[in-house]
Each structure stands twice: as C-alpha cells, then as structure tokens.
C-alpha cells in the first residue's frame, strides 16, 4: 500500500456513512457523521464507473472550487476520499434551503428578514467573485440554510473561474428563471454580472414569494424578462443586438418596479433595479451591493438565528438534507437545459406539508 492509498484509508475512517437520503443523476447523497465527534455531515458519493470520459465535470468543478473557498456563507467541503471506484465528498450538513422557506406559506417574512438573507447571499457571492470564481447556478434551492440561520451558497457544479481574454465560456448555465438576458442571447464572453442578475431574481422572489421571471422555454424566458422590465433599447444595453443568438422578441413597455413591488422600500427597489440592469457592466457588483444604502438603512437585517425556518425541519429525518439532494440532482440537469423545467422538482419537504403529498405518504405507509 503506497502513501496515497494509506492516507486515503485514514481519511475514509474518519467518516461514517449512515442512511441514503437522496439520489441524483451523478451522485448519491448519504447522511453521515464524523467518527470521532459524531458531528453530522452529508456525504456525496459520485458514481465514477459509468462515465466513459472519467469523472463528471460538475464533480471536478465542485471539488476544485469548494476546496479553496472557505467562508461562512459558502458551504464547506470538509473532506474528499475515494472508496473502491467512487469519489466521496464530505460536505457540511445543512437543514433546509431558501426555496423550502419561500414556499412554506406558514412562514411570514419581515422586510428585515429579506435584508438579512440578501446580505448573506451577497457576502458569499462577493467572496466568490473576489476569488475570481463565477457561481453560475444561483437560485433559491442552491442557497442552503444552516441550523443557526446562516445562509450558504452551495452547488458549485457549474462554477468556473474567470475566463482569460478571448476564451469562450458556455452560455448554457444557470437555471432558466435566473438566467440573465446576455446568456439567453447566447453570449460566450461574460463576467460577474450573470450571478448578480440571478441574485436580483432571488431578491424579487423573496419579496413576491413566487418566482419573478418564470419563463417556460428559453425563448419565453426572454419574453418574460422583457414583459417585466421593458424591451431594452440600444441605449439601455449597447451592442446587445450583435449577440450570437439575438432575435427580436417584440416590444414591451417599461413599467416601474413599484407597480409590482408595492410594499418594498425605495432602497430595496433601487438595489433590485441595479441588479436587474440590462447592460451587464452597469449592473451592481457584489461589493458595491454590500455598500448599498438598502443594507445600512433601518430596519437592521434580522439576526440569522431569528430568521424564519420551517418548523418541522428537525422532525423529518429523511428530508432534512434535501438541499444536498437537490444539489446533486440539479447540477447536470441544468447544464443540459431540458425543455421542461418549468415545474420545479417536487421532492422538497414543503411538498410534504401539502395535503396531496401527505396522502401519498399515507399510502406508502399502509
């Protein structure tokens, strides 16, 4: 046994795998714990054997970036080890995600809660951008919530570092509803603006409690965006008509955000409009956003420990790590952008609260 193998065996011994809690297309997620401290973790076993070209790309990306990013608002990758032909990622165990919280109608959001979540999102994102990494798949169910209320960016399966000048990047990233117009127009050279747009959509979703720009197809997504924010003119967004997949999708008038977000404060709308600016370079950067008056004005952001969270999260063992299950399940799915992703996966615990899903549960139990 050589040194590497010995080290790997030692690492493997540190972690104990418990029951399986979810399966995605390229990974199985287990609940686990650290052998010495019995601290809860999530272990993501990546199936290697079945891929001809070796390891799945998103696994490589996830390990590559999470290994380096250590921040309180980014999920922690605690260890990596191999077992037989599989690769195992040991991740921090997190209770729920923002999507569960948004969908849970029994929770009430105060403006200060939204501010707190936004601040934590921007903190995490600023850290990524500062380290020259684009996340490229920000959406509520990739923002996981720890037991103490801290929000953490997760799923770095689509992340990449900033491209060198002239190198193309793929435009088939980011879940459609959160995808910025430049990617919808097929742009291959982009920057941090893509993540900011997603955060803007999440911000709006937090206020509305329903997805802000739910397009049914890539084409419809553009239409949805323009219907909400007005068709951009050459002045709003110089050069957008030259983008590879540009197609005119009709003229829609610009309506003030105030019409939809009636209860939002002026500061909140100002930040939202800076996130959802058409020209990517004029979009607010994560660092600028953190200095925006929205965050410093009253009310103060809610302390993370007081943020609303699903009441029964602790009492449902099987669905607890759902964020991580989603994380494994959504990665490759998004990349391929299958035609019908309008309906979000129905596996989140909130659905367990609905009468229909309850009925199904009863059926299985009997």
């Amino acid at each position: 046994m050589d040194a590497v193998e010995r080290a790997n065996a030692e690492r493997q011994k540190r972690w104990v795998k418990d029951q399986k809690i979810g399966e995605g297309t390229y990974a199985v997620v287990y609940r686990g714990r650290e052998a010495s401290t019995s601290k809860k973790v999530a272990i993501k076993k990546i199936k290697v054997g079945q891929f001809k070209d070796g390891l799945d790309m998103s696994a490589v990306r996830e390990v590559k970036y999470l290994r380096e990013l250590h921040h309180q608002n980014i999920i922690e990758l605690m260890d990596v080890f191999s077992s037989k032909t599989n690769l195992n990622l040991v991740l921090e165990f997190l209770d729920s995600d923002l999507e569960i919280i948004i969908k849970d109608r029994t929770l009430v959001f105060l403006p200060a809660d939204i501010k707190s979540w936004m601040a934590m999102t921007f903190h995490g994102l600023e850290f990524c951008h500062r380290n020259f990494i684009l996340h490229r798949d920000l959406k509520p169910n990739n923002l996981l919530i720890a037991f103490n209320g801290q929000l953490k960016l997760a799923d770095f399966g689509l992340a990449r570092d900033f491209a060198d000048p002239g190198y193309k990047m793929t435009c088939q990233v980011i879940t459609r509803w959160y995808r910025p117009p430049e990617l919808l127009f097929g742009c291959r050279y982009y920057g941090t603006g893509v993540d900011i747009w997603s955060v803007g959509c999440i911000f709006a979703e937090l206020m509305l409690r329903t997805p802000y720009l739910p397009g049914e197809s890539d084409m419809d997504q553009l239409k949805t965006v323009f219907r909400a924010l007005g068709t951009p003119t050459e002045e709003d967004w110089p050069g957008h008509t030259k983008l590879p997949d540009y197609v005119p999708v009709g003229q829609f008038p610009r309506t003030p955000l105030r019409d939809l977000f009636t209860a939002a404060s002026g500061d909140a709308l100002s930040l939202l409009s800076r996130c959802l600016t058409y020209e990517p370079r004029r979009r607010v950067s994560a660092r600028e956003a953190l200095h925006h008056p929205y965050f410093t004005s009253l009310p103060y952001p809610t302390h993370p420990s007081k943020l609303p969270k699903p009441v029964s999260a602790q009492s449902r063992p099987l669905e607890e790590v759902d964020g991580n299950v989603q994380l494994s399940a959504s990665g490759p799915g998004v990349k391929a952008a299958p035609p019908n992703r309008l309906k979000r996966k129905l596996s989140s615990p909130i659905d367990g609260l609905r009468p229909l899903a309850r009925k199904l549960d009863f059926g299985q139990a009997l």
Partner: protein
Amino acid sequence: MSRPSNAGGWLKGTTVRKGGTAVTNSHSTRPNTPQVQSTSLTAFSGVKDTSGRTTEYFSMDDQCPVCKSDRYLNPKLRLLVSACYHKMCESCIDRLFTLGPAPCPICQKILRKLAFTPQTFEDLTVEKEVKVRRRIAKDFNKRREDFPDLRSYNDYLEEVEDITFNLINDLDVAETEARIERYRKENSTLIELNVRREEQYVQALKDQEEQDRLEREHRALEARKEEELEREEKEKDRREIIDRLETSTKDAVKVIAKSRAEANKRSSARTAATALAKSSAQLLRSRAAQSTTVPDVPHVPLQDDWYTYEDMYTLRDNYDDIYSEAVREDREGIMRAGGYRVQEAWDRAVRSAVTALFLPPLSGVSQSDITSGAPQSILTST
C-alpha cells in the same frame, strides 16, 4: 401649562373643565359634561378623530364674549374661533365681518370672515398648538433615515421643537418665520420626497387593511364550507351504516364500531390538514412577539479582513497585452454587451503573481505528510 398673555381673562371665565364640576347647575336637564357634535361645515380644517370625522367642542356654559349671549338665551349658539384664537358666536361674526375684513373686537387684529374655524378642544391653547404643529409637520418631515446618526436626528428634533414653541408662545415670530422659510428652501426636494413617502406608506397601510379584510372573509367562507362538509360527511356515514346493516350478515355491533372508527380516522386527518393552514395574520403576530433576546446588528459590508496584496501592485488602466488585443478592440461590441471585462483578467494575473510571495516555506513536516495532507494546507492558507 402657561397660557399666552393675550388670551384674555374671558377665556378662563367661560371654559368648563371637562368632566363638569358644575353638575348641580340648574338650568339644564341634559348632562352638563361637554359634548361633541359632528359638523358638516364646509372648508373645515378642524382636528379629525380616528374615524376621520371632525368633532366640534360644545358646552352648556358657552357664552359669546362679544355679545354676551349664552346657550340659555340662544340654544343654537355656535362659537367659532378666529385666527387670533378668540371665540365669538356666528351672529357676531356675521355682524362684524360681512362687509369685509375688520378688527377683532378683543385684540384688534384684522380678521376675515372665512378664517374662523370651529373649536375642537376645550382649551384654546391646545387648539393653537395643534394647528401650529400641523403646519410645522408639513415642512419638517424628515425621518430618522435621513440622518447619518442619532445625534444629528436629535438635534433636528430639538430645532423643530424650538420653532414650534416659539410659534405657540408668539416669541420672535418674525425671526422664526424666516427660519422656517430658510429651511423650506434648503430642503425642498427632501420635503417633497418625504411627502411622497408618507403617501406611499398610507397607501400600503390601506392595501394591507384591504388584504386583511379579504383574508378574514376568505377564512369565514372556509369555515362555513368546512362545517357544510362535516355535516354532509356525518349524514353519509349514517346512511352508510344503515346500508351495511341491511346488506351485511355480520354482527350489528361490530359493523357499527368499524364504520365509526373509519369516520373518526377521516375527520382527524382533515383537522390535521386544516391545522397546518394557519392564518398568516396569526403567524405575523407570533413573529412579532418572538423573543428579542438576540438583538439585530447593523450590516457590515465586508466582514472579513481580506488581504488583496494591493500594496504590492498597482493596476493600470491599460496594458500592452497582445493576448487580449482582439478582446480590447471588440469590433462587434459583444464583449461589452456580454459584460466581459479584460481588466478583471489583468487584475487576476497581477495579483496571482504576487500572491503568497512571502509565505514561509513548509518546515517540520515529513515527506509522507507532504504527499498526503499538504496540498490542502497550501490551498487554505493562500
């Protein structure tokens, strides 16, 4: 409270303390406590109560200080207040001011007929204070958010209070007016903005109320439906039992017991489902009542002290960089439209060059540690 000196002694003589000390007063069978009556006077700027209506002060002991007629002589007596805060009855006002502006019979100030307003408060100093405060609040409408710190906000409130006090007590009126005018000029945009904010807030409140009302109605409807459903179900159960008793050959007691158990199971499942759908108003209340043991802390833009090596290099606006020449030229404008910044690539390149320059080399680790654990520690420390 000190009365202004020009209020005149007549005021004390005619005002009655609320709650009425003169209950034994013989001239009335009606209660002697001051009453209020709704008024429908046009162009009335009196004080509105919570329901949005204005109420007028009215007492059994009212007497017009000008013509000395009182409620005993004239039951329809109505006293109005002048701009100089003197009361007189409607007939005196008609008599004195119909032919145009005339001096006030008490303080000689020139008054107009239209400037008389109904009385809302028993004490005219309160009436005056309310009017002054309302006027001041129209212009001095800054909020806490408009100030950088609590200190300056408090200073501002102090100033507003000074001005109000001066106006109420007629001290340095000319100078105070000038101060108000100056303030108004300096802050015109902010005043405008705050007026709009206030309007928005009122609108939001109204919307909220409307929503609450709808929700209440919705809940009532839901409850009614629920009841209906329950009644129907019970009826159905009853019929079912009878049916079963008719067709089944089993023991009657057992059949009934079985149906009952089934019905119970169904109804408990239903109550469990409804218990989950708690009203949001209730939740909001519980949210507000949540423990405040952990205080909310102000936002800190950047929480970690991140060393960017910025003291080791300065980024120039432009570099003679052959690799990015095409990108910088950007003939089709797609770099700009897509948001790609070549500066970010330069920043990264230069920073990577200096990063960890002075990191001490690893020491005291054995060869095997380096092969297994070390790569990780290098990455985390950079």
